[in-house]
């Protein structure tokens, strides 16, 4: 995909870089204290166009291709992860689902609203099913010309703020081949029967909220069925997750840069045995390993997104990038704590929250183990077909 004009993109990235450093980073303390992004900053982010990066221009967005979108997320992710979280469900999951599977009427209804910054959430995980998401229990039963939804969703990012929920539900009691028992619904979160639980207390990622969604006899019209066709929900969810994996990888790479820069500064300022600790080779080894690994993740992001934009097979590179970048970010955060010594264990220093914030990246949008399974499965299939792994 060609994406937006390259010059316009470069100009935007320059403005975004400044916005991140001059506005978003100084506001981090407030976001953490309130466990939410203040309304004035949210409005600024909307005005900057951050909610419309991936929507096509004719729907009020900027029409970025995957390389541009993922690079934008990487630059944004130098700041507190909450700033990505609030935009990423709109931009990644839900926009991808609408673009690839939505009917014309559904696109016209929702894409402009999402681009303008109405917040969306993506409901796949349930109390009884996470990695094994096709085992979901939420049901959608035909009711007149619409459906009646019942069940609950767990750990849903942005549920407390959302106007739109893209909810996966079973339209067939029995599991069907290719998980065709799952359909996707565009649910107005203000509908009768939809309730959102209290935000969960998390290890990190303050400012971003997750909560349960309860669906109690929620009636939706027929046109809420994504694409107007039953049985497409799982395929849609998996396509959205492919995109989401690159977003998590970009978040990991962008945050890892921030973490390493912070470690570099501390290692310069802190003295032990009469010298700045960055003069000790054991410290230098941690810094050098971090630099090499971040560079590797940045290269993987460039290559994987270029493949997506060229329409080449991208399952393997995207899953590999998510696996490597998220684990890498955790290693870098761990070293940053170590380099800080005792200070790294204290909430007063940023190293401590970097460590907590990073931890989710190897878990959501497919755990590292699920990434390994996805990668290995593709390798074995390619190998059996006589190709290379």
């Amino acid at each position: 995909m060609s994406g937006m004009d390259a010059e316009v993109f470069d100009q935007f990235i320059e403005q975004l870089w400044r916005y991140v450093h001059e506005r978003l980073i100084p506001a981090e303390k407030d976001v953490i204290a309130a466990n939410a992004i203040p309304e004035d900053i949210l409005d600024e982010m909307r005005e900057m166009g951050l909610f419309g990066l991936t929507m096509p221009e004719e729907y009020g967005g900027a029409g970025m291709n995957t390389s541009q979108y993922v690079e934008t997320i990487r630059v944004l992710s130098y700041a507190l992860p909450a700033y990505r979280s609030i935009t990423s469900i709109n931009l990644g999951m839900v926009c991808t689902a609408l673009k690839k599977s939505g009917t014309e009427a559904q696109k016209a209804e929702w894409l402009p609203r999402l681009a303008a910054g109405e917040i969306a959430c993506f409901g796949l995980t349930e109390p009884g099913s996470g990695s094994d998401s096709a085992a979901m229990q939420t049901t959608a039963v035909k009711d007149g010309n619409g459906y009646r939804l019942n069940g609950s969703k767990r750990y849903i990012t942005n549920a407390p703020f959302a106007k739109l929920g893209l909810i996966m539900a079973r339209t067939s009691k029995e599991p069907l081949p290719k998980n065709a028992h799952v359909s996707a619904f565009l649910v107005d979160m203000e509908k009768a029967g939809v309730t959102v639980g209290k935000p969960d207390k998390k290890m990190g990622q303050e400012g971003s909220q997750i909560a349960d969604i309860y669906l109690d006899d929620v009636h939706v019209d027929g046109d809420a069925l994504l694409g107007g066709e039953e049985g497409q929900g799982f395929r849609t969810a998996m396509m959205s997750l492919d995109n989401g994996r690159l977003s998590v990888a970009a978040a990991s790479a962008g945050y890892a840069r921030r973490i390493l820069d912070t470690a570099m500064r501390y290692a310069q300022d802190r003295k032990a045995f009469g010298e700045p600790i960055n003069q000790f080779q054991l410290i230098q080894a941690m810094l050098a390993d971090s630099e090499a690994e971040i560079y590797a993740a940045e290269c993987m992001l460039k290559d994987a997104t270029a493949k997506v934009d060229a329409g080449e097979p991208s399952l393997l590179p995207a899953a590999s990038t998510k696996l490597f970048a998220s684990e890498m970010c955790n290693r870098v955060a761990n070293r940053c704590v170590q380099i800080h010594g005792g200070a790294g264990y204290l909430a007063e220093y940023e190293a401590e929250r970097f460590y907590r914030d990073s931890r989710i990246y190897t878990i959501y949008e497919g755990t590292s183990q699920i990434m390994q399974l996805v990668i290995a499965k593709a390798m074995l299939r390619n190998f059996a077909a006589g190709g290379q792994a």
């Binding site: 004009d5 100009q11 935007f12 403005q15 400044r18 900057m48 166009g49 900027a62």
Partner: protein, 248 residues
């Protein structure tokens, strides 16, 4: 009213400048460049005047290399309506720039020219003043606050020890100080729209201006490195030290 805002492409304020090995100037190879911060404040102020309904058009102008187009695009993305690039690869002195701006002012007839008080590249702090003199128009430099009323503009100027208020009759020249406003970031939708706004390219010769340098740079050098201080045991030692150094 029309507002003319000259903007300059300079070394980015986050970059630590390095002097060329031969001492002939600052090394600009592969250095990040951006809009002079004081000019950004001028663009912002012009947009606010327009948003308040006191101006119809904002014209951004830059005198500089072809790459200064990027700086003009930023001004357009912030909210200027059109742009003029006077392309020159020479490092023009303030007087040459002021003469070119004078010619543009005569052509465009703006009610207000809003400039940065100085550019962070050479810190000359001359262009606005020279332009006012060449045009024989009133000037309000180092603006901290400006207010438009009818055909006049009131400028609170930052001076040593406080603020001085001057009232100028339009058309006038105003230069911006740091506290006038906080410039906005160009949003993605506006950057996209700016791509379609008109940008004319001219050359100094179009205005018949003699841009030959009047000044000669002898040498550029890094500021001297600050020497580390010395710790003294007590007040007596401090006094002795000061006396020995002949400071007191």
């Amino acid at each position: 009213m029309k507002i003319l805002v000259p903007v300059k492409r300079v070394i980015d304020y986050n970059v630590k400048p390095r002097v060329k090995a031969d001492g002939s100037g600052v090394d600009l190879a592969n250095v990040k460049m951006s809009m002079n911060p004081f000019d950004e404040i001028a663009v912002e102020e012009a947009i606010r005047i327009k948003e308040a309904g006191n101006a119809e058009e904002i014209v951004a102008v830059s005198v500089g290399p072809a790459k200064a187009q990027e700086t003009l695009r930023t001004a357009l993305a912030m909210g200027a309506d059109r742009a003029i690039l006077v392309e020159s690869d020479e490092d023009l002195e303030p007087l040459a720039v002021a003469k070119i701006l004078k010619a543009i002012v005569e052509e465009e007839q703006p009610g207000l020219v809003l400039l940065g008080k100085q550019s962070i590249s050479d810190d000359s702090n001359q262009t606005g003043q020279m332009l006012a003199a060449l045009l024989d128009r009133p000037q309000g430099t180092f603006a901290n606050t400006i207010t438009l009323e009818g055909d006049s503009i009131t400028v609170k100027r930052e001076i040593d020890g406080g603020l001085e208020t001057v009232k100028l009759t339009l058309p006038a020249i105003v230069t911006t100080d740091l506290r006038l406003n906080e410039p906005r970031y160009a949003s993605l939708p506006n950057i996209m729209k700016a791509k379609k706004k008109p940008l004319d390219t001219k050359s100094p010769a179009d205005f018949g201006v003699d841009t030959a340098p009047r000044l000669k740079t002898l040498k550029v050098s890094e500021p001297p490195v600050r020497q580390a201080g010395e710790k003294v045991e007590d007040v007596d030692a401090l006094v002795a030290k000061i006396k020995a150094l002949g400071i007191a």
